[in-house]
């Protein structure tokens, strides 16, 4: 596993010519970045292209191979990567491929309903620190068992979205009917079981698609099926250890946990594949829809933190999905680097010499929150981003990463004093205890802003625009 690899071990397999084609200064620094999983080995083009390195390339690929295999689900140019994990806990290195979320449509739904659901999945998006949190796949489920109906539904889905698919049926004939509609793509096939494995294996081989191996609550059977599938020549497998809600929660969690433990602590290669969770299982049987949504949400949340690489879900409500996509994004954030933005002076709108000057920290979440609040209020201003090593205002003040001296230094370096004619600096409310020190260190007059940046427009209205503070011009203290 990569985390126990030494850069030297990797370096020995590189060309050692320091040619720089990978963008690094030398082979050793490329080796270090490889071990940290920051670059793909293919960036070293000589290694891939020249015959003399072929053996080393193969060795290196093997050395860097993740214990959980990476599996690709492909539709046209859209690819969903699942698995590819190197560690059991994110703090041991980082998690890599965020749990993919598939929303189901079934072949007993009307054409209109299918189109509507697919549209909702496609359009789901939540802006978060400069990116969009999205759903990843559509899972088309056969419940009628009719191949013709299935192929029709797959076609409807394909017409309405470019998202990759999971095709779900235990009948190989039904899956085949669906596959016929998607030549060249690689949907995930669900699923091979102890009863249908031979024909499923043939189908997956014939269409070169990744295949789910399913043995609900039976890890021994799961492992034996994997062995059989590998012997058939399949490589891209996904494991379904079974997902059960209610009183089945403990077993579900035990199965997911024990599989990953076997991979990372005992080196069990047969279980080194992505895991599929199906929170949709809570919808089996009766009960209130509202309760099902709750259950589906916490089951999905539990599996996102406990090793699921792909989830099949039914609920499409924003209130169920938003906490999940947020949790997923957070868990899969690289713990080695603070989420930060480049420090410096940012112009918002069209600031001029009378515009307010505010500062915030370079923690990405703080920065995006503050800047989007200012932008949406259409306030022309200068936003100075002070390097706090990626900490929020509160943590940075407490941890002395945000000090009056740092603010003074950033203010000076930004050159903003040449851009405005006043000398007022608006500081975050949570940095209020530094106000005196900042005045001393900068010579600027400090205005303590609101605790939450959503209060900035009101604050500026009262404290900046009404009194027309800038008219006094430069007011050195």
């Amino acid at each position: 596993m990569a985390k126990s690899l030494s850069p030297l071990e990797v370096y020995n397999l590189l060309p050692k010519t320091n040619c720089g084609k990978c963008g690094e200064k030398n082979c050793l620094s490329f080796a270090t970045r490889l071990v940290n999983l920051e670059v793909e080995v293919e960036r070293c083009t000589p290694l891939v292209e020249e015959a003399q390195y072929k053996e080393n390339y193969v060795k290196l690929k093997n050395l860097l191979k993740p214990p959980v295999k990476e599996v690709l689900i492909v539709r046209g140019d859209r690819v969903v990567r699942i698995g590819g994990e190197y560690v059991m806990y994110r703090h041991e290195l980082t998690y890599r491929r965020p749990t993919a979320i598939a929303i189901d449509v079934s072949d007993d739904m009307s054409r209109e309903l299918i189109a509507e659901r697919v549209k909702q999945v496609e359009e789901f998006g939540y802006p978060y620190i400069g990116k969009q949190l999205k759903l990843d796949l559509i899972a088309v489920r056969s419940v009628t068992g009719d191949p013709a109906r299935f192929s029709e539904v797959v076609k409807t889905v394909l017409d309405n979205t470019s998202l990759p698919l999971v095709l779900c049926s235990l009948d190989p004939e039904v899956l085949k009917a669906g596959l016929a509609e998607m030549s060249g793509d690689k949907p995930l096939l669900y699923a091979a079981t102890k009863d249908n494995w031979r024909r499923m294996a043939e189908l997956a081989l014939a269409y070169d698609c990744p295949l789910v191996v399913s043995a609900p609550n039976d890890p021994t059977m799961l492992k034996s099926l994997v062995k059989t599938m590998l012997e058939c020549g399949l490589e891209d497998l996904v494991l379904d250890p079974g997902t059960m809600g209610g009183e089945g929660l403990p077993d579900t969690l035990v199965n997911f946990t024990m599989i990953r433990k076997a991979v990372f602590r005992a080196g069990d290669e047969l279980l080194g594949f992505p895991l599929l969770g199906a929170p949709i299982a809570v919808w089996l049987g009766g009960g209130r829809a509202l309760d099902k949504k709750w259950e589906e949400c916490y089951l999905a949340g539990m599996l996102i933190v406990r090793y699921a690489d792909i989830l099949i879900m039914h609920s499409l409500d924003g209130w169920v999905l938003l906490p999940l996509v947020m949790l997923r994004d957070n868990i899969y954030t690289d713990p080695r680097k603070p989420v930060s933005v480049e420090p410096g002076l940012y112009k918002i709108g069209q600031p001029d010499e009378t515009s307010p000057v505010m500062f915030t920290t370079n923690f990405a979440l703080t920065y995006y929150t503050v800047s989007s609040d200012i932008q949406s209020a259409k306030i022309d201003s200068y936003l100075l981003v002070v390097d706090t090593e990626g900490l929020s205002v509160e943590s940075a003040v407490a941890g002395r990463k945000l000090t009056a001296d740092r603010v003074a230094e950033a203010l000076k370096e930004s050159g903003v004093e040449k851009l405005v004619k006043h000398r007022y600096l608006i500081i975050p409310g949570r940095a209020s205890r530094l106000s005196g020190e900042i005045e001393e260190a900068t010579g600027w007059t400090v205005l303590v802003g609101p605790l939450d940046s959503s209060g900035i427009p009101k604050f500026l209205d009262e404290k900046w625009y009404k009194p027309k503070l800038w008219e006094g011009g430069a007011q050195p203290k």
């Binding site: 929660l249 946990t257 709750w294 949400c297 916490y298 406990r306 906490p323 949790l327 605790l451 959503s454």
Partner: protein
Amino acid sequence: MVIGATEPEGGSRGYVVEAGGAETLPFYTFEGLNPRPVLALEVYDCVEPLPSFLLESYRDVVSNPVEWARLVDRLEPDLVNLNVRSISPTVLDRSPKDALKTVEAVLQATRRPLMVTGIMDPIHRDDTARNMEFLRLVAETFKGERLLIGPATPEAFETVAEAALANGHNVLAKTNMDVNQAIRLNELLVEKGLTLERIVVDVTTGALGYGVEYTLSTMERFRIRGLKGDRMARSPLIFFASENLFIRELENGESGMAPIYEASSAVAGLMAGADIVSMLHPESLEKVRQFIDEFPWRGG
């Protein structure tokens, strides 16, 4: 850790609650069973305007912590968490001595074990000093109740530790999201004479989308170190799921989003090793309790 003391033990609680005592990683039921996690419900002695979704539950009690405590008592949490932030100069600037009356009244309003916290996120320069004065008074006045009091922080822990030690209380030790800081604070508290089973570790909870991943990883690392034999990492952990209710996403969100945010974060906190989960929304308390009920625990 034991929180609360019954009359024969010198307190006035109807029962005591035990927190901590994990012997395996969280939810590793195939290796052994851990004790059932403790669910706390929060009462504030004063709040900034509560979000509308919380007003649905607490409208009639927001300005009266005693009535609030009675309401919370009926929702049957294991533990009541009374937060007293009126003592901050930036909030109400109430004197710590005066604030004791609220603690006294809440102790009478519920017979459940009690946790008393001061200002959890100090902003004003005097907040820390106020906390110390308040917590010392609480510890002395309610000697024998075996409360959980805090926060003790790396900057200010001596007063709380001494007062808790002298009067038989437990301490909430709060640090940034950093496992080494948490362990260091435990060392400092132990040097003051507290034993590890009298310290609850709060590594600061980030809400979903607001740094929860740092909280979860810090908790996981702390628990793993504790189970591997690092003595100073053997305290129970607390997770404040309620942090999720004050995020901006919920201000204009769909109805129903708030409790599910709190509950899904609570589930993640439990997975990371939380021994106590502190919550605010009655609906999520119920759902998280149902979730916990599905699992086997040591002692049933």
